[in-house]
């Protein structure tokens, strides 16, 4: 079928640009949102937290381990004890673990935190604005952010055995001997 095919319906011919536009729009819808990568500046956010407002810019000068989690996410359950440990171990070296909860129902998050108390800052984003901004693809997703606000590492998912590898990255970021 070519454009000068006389049997081609004039309607179809006139619709071709529109169909092309439709195909383009479909591609846009189907393609995933841009995910934040290493070297990108982590977008600032201001959210309500367990102990008052949580603003990323307030952590400038600190190395931040930013974790997006939800009560219904299995691997998140495994990551909490590890994140508590990291916060305790490297707090003096300038590490701050920040957990952004994305539960749509605040009660779910409360229940989770009762079972697995967090010894780090927890913020709440029920609307999901922050994970959208960060282009989160899986739960949990964590980002290691340097003191300059630039992303040093991105990690999706969590299994207990990955803790050591992630700790190495934290140590590197803190310029600790590994």
């Amino acid at each position: 079928m070519t454009s000068d095919n006389p049997t081609l319906s004039p309607l179809f011919r006139s619709w071709r640009p529109r169909l092309a536009a439709l195909a383009g729009a479909l591609c846009l819808v189907i393609l995933p949102a841009h995910a934040l990568g290493v070297g990108d500046t982590a977008p600032d956010f201001a959210l309500d937290g367990t102990n008052g407002p949580v603003r990323l810019s307030d952590y400038r000068g600190k190395t931040v381990y930013l974790d997006f989690w939800a009560s219904w996410c299995g691997p998140c359950r495994q990551s909490f004890p590890w994140m508590n440990e990291m916060q305790t171990r490297y707090q003096a070296k300038g590490l701050r673990v920040v957990g952004v909860n994305v539960d749509q129902n605040a009660k779910d998050a409360e229940g989770f935190l009762r079972a697995l108390p967090a010894r780090f800052d927890v913020a709440y984003d029920a609307a999901g604005k922050t994970p959208r901004q960060y282009g989160i693809k899986g739960m949990p997703t964590s980002l290691l952010i340097g003191p300059d606000g630039k992303v040093l590492a991105v990690h999706s998912g969590f299994r207990a055995e990955q803790g050591t590898e992630l700790e190495q990255k934290i140590k590197q970021a803190l310029k600790e001997p590994s």
Binding site: S9, L19, G128, M139
Partner: protein
């Protein structure tokens, strides 16, 4: 008249091709309800895991199953 009808049918078919893809993506952080046990197709998680493992290897494809597996991007 016939051509118009044909054109309209073609346009309708094209629109159908996208199926439900245009209805909006469910993002990783919006899968709270999908993660509930009741949303599972099989009541025994182990049996389901085994079945999907066999299916995945037969089809030479894996992932995309619910939230705990590939669908949530955790593995």
């Amino acid at each position: 008249m016939k051509e118009t009808a044909r054109g309209l049918i073609a346009a309708a078919c094209l629109a159908l091709l996208s199926g439900c893809a245009g209805l909006g993506d469910v993002q990783a952080w919006e899968k709270g309800k999908l993660a509930q046990a009741g949303m599972s197709m099989d009541e025994d998680p182990l049996h389901q895991r085994w079945g999907l493992h066999v299916y995945g290897s037969k089809e030479a494809a894996s992932g995309g199953w619910g939230v705990g597996g590939g669908g949530c991007g955790c593995n």
